[in-house]
Symmetry: C2
Subunit: 217 residues, 2 copies
DNA sequence: TAGATTGTTAATCGATTAACAATC
DNA sequence: TAGATTGTTAATCGATTAACAATC
């Protein structure tokens, strides 16, 4: 296997590059050097060049990087070129917010199914998509081509549902439940643990105020 | 300054420890060794001991760690002992979801104000809290003791509002807008960039399917 | 006391930064 | 061609893991 190893650190930075390049593109910037981008993003130019060169050379000596081209290449790497079918598992407050979030369709992520156990929401529509009973989820996954399942159910239901989702053939889970899901290693999981995030903020605030810990990078 | 330096990596792991210890406590576990916890959390026992010892010795040789005590100590470190007053800046889909999220009050984070520019939502209530006009935000911050502002407004409004929030005296921003906020270094910012998170998932899915990159830890 | 397990030092590993030759 | 800036190797820095002495 001759696959190039890409570290978690690099992967974590790619969406941020994509975001900044998208903004530069909006502002009709044609080219940018690693030095200029480094000032904008507050990282080192060296890191930018190292990061990009994990995927091959996108720049040109003496010129820098063509913004449009670089944006496109990083988009390809991130899989934004392909369309993705997403289901929402859980139509509570967070699920509803995701259903209406405009950035996802813009990036090619289409919500094609929403599922919940609550009879009060089943049959209602969220952003034009009908909420179906949770029982029908597996059949729906099998009959449609679902790439990603976003899980927004309560903690204790998440693992069981994740197993059903995986058994039905989904290979990517976007997990908003405050648990670490246990799935096979042919399935990728990305967690959004909002409470963890809030506690990190709380730590940093307490650390700053107390002066007890030096916590910055 | 004799403050102990705590790395970002360690801070990032604290909420996860807190979560696991909370679950152990729910299950009436009295003690746990770093070895047992390491199996549960899928990290090394060595890392657990190193992490805890950043803050002083919480364990006892030959015994391990007392779950209740350790949970309490990490809670203190994370600032969960104190009550926090939070305002929501932006009452759109995500803001509404946050207003109704039950985990936050449970951890001592009280939403005491919600602000929006949209006349359609101003005056309405979210989870019993009235949505106020954005104009009133700064006065509200000054008159109340606000610890944290959660920003869920569109990208282009985030920086301007962040400045107003900071000028009014808030020292912690929980940022859900897809931009990096520019604030002084006496203000802490924690980002929840959901699109970035989705793109990471998309990358990992594409990498796994294509076999082009070896991307796991 | 003997066994278990922490706290902590030392060794290893990986990621970031610096430097510079290659080249547009 | 000369100047600019990349791509890439080497040096540094930081984080993780291993090992073990301290001690409950």
């Amino acid at each position: 296997m001759s696959e190039k190893y890409i570290s978690k650190a690099v992967i974590g930075r790619l969406p941020r590059y994509y975001r900044y390049l998208g903004e530069l593109l909006e502002n009709d910037e044609e080219r940018i050097s690693s030095e200029e981008l480094s000032k904008l993003m507050k990282v080192t130019a060296s890191q930018i060049r190292q990061d990009f060169n994990n995927f091959g050379g996108f720049g040109q000596q003496g010129y820098g990087y063509n913004v449009k081209y670089l944006y496109g290449e990083i988009g390809k790497i991130l899989g934004v070129e392909q369309k993705h079918n997403v289901i929402l598992v859980g139509a509570g407050n967070l699920g509803s917010a995701l259903a209406k979030y405009p950035s996802f369709p813009k990036r090619g992520f289409t919500i094609s199914g929403i599922f919940d156990v609550n009879p009060d929401v089943i049959g209602k529509t969220l952003n034009g998509i009908m909420v179906r009973p949770m029982d029908e989820m597996e059949e729906f996954i099998v009959n449609n081509v679902i790439d990603i399942a976003a899980i927004t159910v309560p903690r204790d239901e998440a693992q069981t549902l994740a197993e059903k989702i995986v058994n039905a053939g989904v290979k990517a889970i976007w997990n908003f439940s405050p648990v670490d899901l246990n799935v096979g290693d042919d399935v990728v999981v990305e967690n959004v643990h909002m409470t963890d995030s809030l506690l990190k903020l709380s730590f940093n605030l307490a650390a700053m105020k107390s002066g007890k810990w030096d916590y910055r990078i």
